[in-house]
C-alpha cells in the first residue's frame, strides 16, 4: 500500500508559527467602481488544507476566489501561491484550477474531451492524455460515461466531470465555487465525503467557497467566515462554533441564544454579567477583557443548556433562570424547546431524547428552569 500522505488536519501547520504558507493573501482589496467587494483581506492557507470560505451572498467570498483564479485582479494587495507572486498573472499561467458553480462544462465536447481539454493545452502525448483521462474517470466513477455529452448526464454526474476536469492538470491548488450547491440534499451528503476522500488521497490544497455552514463544518480543516468583504474569523470548525469572536460569527454558524448584559464584577478569574433580558446574573468562570459597567453580549448554543422542573442549584447565585415552554420541535434524536422568559425574551434549548418515548418529558405550558455551566457561553464584545 502506498504511503499515506501527510494530512493537514493531522499536522495543523497553522498552529506552527514557523510553517510556510502555501497561499498567502496579503492586504487584498477589490473595488468594483465604488463598491468595496473585498476589503483588506489577509489570509494564509497551508499545503493540503481544505479551506472553506464561508459567507452569505455579497460577502466577497466569490470575488476572493476569482482573484485566486486570476479572473479578477486586486485593486491593491498581493497574492502569492507556492512562494511566487501571482497577483497579476493571467488565469492560463497559474498552477491553479477551478471547479465552477455552474460546472461550465463545454457543451460541444463529450466527457472525455472535456477532461482532456486542459491536458491538450499542455501538449502531452496522446497516449498519456488517454491514460490520464481514464484514470480520472475511474477516480470519479464515470468509466462508462466517457462518450456522453454533458446534457446527457445527471446533475451529480456533471459535478463529477467538472471535478475530474479541474483535477486533470494536477493543479497545486484547486478552487471550488459552491461545489455541491446544485445537488439535492442526499447526493450532497454523499458527495461531501467523496470530495474529502479525493482531497486526502491526492493531497491537493482545496479552497472551497460555500454559503452552507453545515457543508463548511463537514469539509473544512479551517474555515474563514466572511462578512461584507472582510474576514470575520478564521479558525478550525470547532473554534468557529464553540469560541466565536463576534456576534456576527456566533449568529452565522449554527443557532444561538444571544443576550445583552452589563458587567458587574470583573475579576481576573471570573466575570459576572447582569442581564435583564435573561432575568438573572451570568457567572463566567474565566477572565474577560472588559471593564465594569461595560455593556456586552453573551451567546450560548441551545445544546449547552439544561432544562428541569425543580429549581437547580446554579453557580454563586447565578446561571439559573425561569420560563414557560412555548413550543417544542421533536426532531427524533433531540427536541428543541422554545421558552419564554419573564422578560419576554425567547430562548431555545435542545435536549437529547435519551429515554425512549419518555412519558415524563417536559411539555407545553410548563414552567421550567434553565441552567448552564460557567464556561458554556461566549462573552462577546463586538
Amino acid at each position: 500500500m502506498a504511503k499515506k500522505p501527510q494530512l493537514a488536519y493531522e499536522t495543523r501547520p497553522w498552529r506552527d508559527p514557523a510553517a510556510k504558507p502555501f497561499v498567502r493573501i496579503k492586504n487584498v482589496t477589490k473595488k468594483f467602481g465604488d463598491v468595496l467587494a473585498v476589503h483588506d483581506v489577509s489570509l494564509d492557507i497551508f499545503k493540503s488544507e481544505l479551506f472553506c470560505l464561508l459567507g452569505g451572498s455579497g460577502s466577497g467570498k466569490s470575488t476572493l476566489l476569482r482573484m485566486l483564479a486570476g479572473f479578477e485582479s486586486p485593486s491593491s494587495g498581493t497574492i502569492e501561491i507556492d512562494g511566487q507572486d501571482m497577483t497579476f498573472e493571467p488565469p492560463y499561467d497559474r498552477p491553479v484550477n477551478m471547479m465552477f458553480q455552474s460546472y461550465a462544462l463545454f457543451p460541444h465536447m463529450n466527457v472525455e474531451q472535456n477532461i482532456a481539454y486542459g491536458l491538450k493545452r499542455d501538449h502531452l502525448p496522446a497516449a498519456e492524455i488517454r491514460d490520464r483521462v481514464a484514470e480520472l474517470l475511474a477516480l470519479v466513477k464515470l468509466q462508462d460515461y466517457g462518450r456522453r455529452k454533458p446534457n446527457q448526464l445527471s446533475g451529480g454526474q456533471r459535478q463529477r466531470v467538472a471535478l475530474a476536469r479541474a483535477l486533470a492538470k494536477r493543479p497545486k491548488l484547486l478552487l471550488l465555487d459552491e461545489p455541491l450547491g446544485a445537488l439535492d440534499k442526499k447526493l450532497r451528503e454523499e458527495t461531501q465525503f467523496e470530495l474529502v476522500k479525493i482531497q486526502e488521497s491526492l493531497g491537493v490544497t482545496f479552497i472551497v467557497v460555500t454559503h452552507d455552514q453545515e457543508e463548511a463544518m463537514t469539509l473544512a480543516t479551517r474555515i474563514g467566515v466572511m462578512n461584507q468583504g472582510e474576514i470575520a474569523m478564521i479558525g478550525e470548525p470547532t473554534d468557529i462554533y464553540e469560541y466565536p469572536n463576534s456576534r456576527f460569527v456566533a449568529g452565522f454558524i449554527g443557532s444561538v441564544n444571544m443576550v445583552e448584559g452589563i458587567v458587574t464584577e470583573d475579576e481576573p478569574d471570573h466575570v459576572r454579567i447582569r442581564s435583564a433580558e435573561l432575568g438573572c446574573d451570568i457567572y463566567v468562570g474565566h477572565g474577560v477583557d472588559c471593564a465594569p459597567d461595560q455593556i456586552l453580549w453573551w451567546a450560548i448554543r441551545p445544546e449547552k443548556m439544561e432544562l428541569s422542573r425543580d429549581r437547580p442549584e446554579g453557580l454563586n447565585g447565578a446561571n439559573v433562570t425561569r420560563g414557560i415552554v412555548e413550543e417544542i420541535a421533536y426532531l427524533g434524536d433531540i427536541s428543541l424547546y422554545q421558552i419564554v422568559l419573564e422578560s419576554g425574551k425567547r430562548v431555545r434549548v435542545s435536549q437529547t431524547n435519551s429515554v425512549r418515548g419518555n412519558p415524563d418529558a417536559i411539555t407545553w405550558e410548563e414552567t421550567v428552569y434553565i441552567t448552564w455551566g460557567d464556561n458554556a457561553g461566549s462573552v462577546l464584545t463586538v
Binding site: F71, M98, S102, A104, H108
Partner: protein
C-alpha cells in the same frame, strides 16, 4: 363555512367566440387548424400558385402577342393538346452566357458572404460583450440604416465611389490619383457587404450573447490563451449563428439585381441582371421563367445543405 366567494355568482367566461369555436369543432376544425391554415393559405396564394404559373411559362416558347408566350394547352379538332417545350432549359446549359452568369453569381455571393462574416463577427462579438446599457444602442445603430430606403443608400454609395466622388476628392487633397471604383466588381462587393451586414450581425449577436462567459473562464483556467479559447470554444459554439447569418446574406445576394446594375460594370455578370434583360429587353418570358426556376434550384440546394449541417451541429450538441 360560508366565504364571500361562494355567495358570488360563478364568473362568466369572457369568450364571445366560444359558440363559434364549438360549431367549428363540430365540423372538425380546431383552433390549431385555423392558426396553421392562415399562413398556409397565404403561402399557397402568393407563393405556390405564382411558382406553378412561372414554371408553366418556362415550358412555353416566346411568341408575339399577348401574353407573349405560347399556350401550353391547345384544342385541336376537339382534342386537348399539351405542348411542353424544354428548349429553354436546354438553352441554359448550352449557352455559355447562362452558365457563366450562374457561376459568377455564386462566386460573388460567396465572396461577399465571407467578407460580411469576417466584418460582422467581430462586430457582433463586441456588441454581445458590451456593457448592458450600451448593447441596445449599438444594436440600434446596426439596424438604423434600414430606416432609409435601400435604393437611396445604394445611390449614396455610388456618390462616395464615383470618379469625382467623396473618396476621390479626399484622396485628391493628399495628391493621390483618383481611383476607379464604380462599375467594377469591387463596387458590387462594397454594395452587398454594406447592405447585408445587419443580416449577418443580428443572428450572430443572438447566438453570441447567449454564450456562457463561465465557459470562456473555464477554458482560460485550463490553460488556453484567448485565441485558443476563441478557436476551441467560442467559434464551435457560435456555428449555428454563423450558418444562419451566412444563409441570410448568401441567398438574397445570389439573386441580387439592384446592386450589380447600379454599382457594377458591364462585365459584372449576375443572374439577376440576365433575368431582367430576358424579361424586359428581350420580352422572352419563357426564357426568363426558366432562368428564375434554375436560380431557385441554385438557391435551394445550399439552403438544404446548410440546414443539414445545422441539424448535425444541433445533434452533436445534444
Amino acid at each position: 363555512m360560508t366565504t364571500l366567494d361562494s355567495r358570488l355568482p360563478p364568473p362568466r367566461r369572457l369568450r364571445p367566440w366560444h359558440g363559434l369555436e364549438r360549431r367549428l369543432r363540430d365540423v372538425g376544425i380546431s383552433g390549431r387548424t385555423l392558426v396553421i391554415a392562415a399562413p398556409a393559405i397565404w403561402l399557397t396564394i402568393f407563393f405556390l400558385v405564382p411558382l406553378v404559373v412561372v414554371f408553366g411559362i418556362s415550358l412555353a416558347t416566346k411568341q408575339f402577342g399577348r401574353p407573349p408566350y405560347s399556350p401550353l394547352l391547345t384544342t385541336d379538332e376537339g382534342k386537348v393538346q399539351l405542348t411542353l417545350h424544354l428548349s429553354n432549359y436546354v438553352r441554359l446549359f448550352t449557352d455559355p452566357l447562362y452558365v457563366a452568369a450562374y457561376l459568377s453569381s455564386i462566386r460573388i455571393a460567396l465572396v461577399a458572404t465571407l467578407i460580411t462574416l469576417v466584418i460582422g463577427y467581430p462586430m457582433a462579438y463586441a456588441i454581445a460583450r458590451a456593457p448592458d446599457k450600451w448593447r441596445n444602442i449599438l444594436l440600434m445603430l446596426v439596424i438604423l440604416p434600414f430606416w432609409t430606403s435601400f435604393l437611396l443608400r445604394v445611390y449614396a454609395l455610388s456618390g462616395f465611389m464615383r470618379g469625382n466622388g467623396v473618396i476621390n476628392q479626399i484622396l485628391g487633397v493628399f495628391g493621390i490619383e483618383p481611383l476607379v471604383m464604380m462599375q467594377t466588381d469591387f463596387a458590387v462587393y462594397v454594395g452587398i457587404v454594406y447592405t447585408y451586414l445587419p443580416f449577418m450581425i443580428l443572428p450572430l449577436y443572438t447566438n453570441l450573447v447567449k454564450l456562457d462567459t463561465s465557459l470562456l473562464e473555464a477554458s482560460a483556467d485550463l490553460g488556453s490563451r484567448p485565441w485558443q479559447t476563441f478557436l476551441s470554444v467560442t467559434l464551435p459554439l457560435s456555428l449555428p449563428g454563423i450558418v444562419a447569418g451566412s444563409m441570410l446574406v448568401f441567398i438574397p445576394a445570389i439573386g441580387e439585381f439592384v446592386i450589380p446594375s447600379l454599382l457594377g460594370g458591364p462585365e459584372t455578370l449576375m443572374i439577376g441582371r440576365v433575368l431582367w434583360d430576358e424579361f424586359f429587353a428581350a420580352t422572352n418570358w419563357p426564357r426568363a421563367s426558366a432562368v428564375a426556376m434554375a436560380m431557385l434550384v441554385v438557391v435551394v440546394i445550399p439552403i438544404l445543405l446548410l440546414q443539414k449541417a445545422q441539424d448535425a451541429v444541433v445533434e452533436r450538441g445534444k
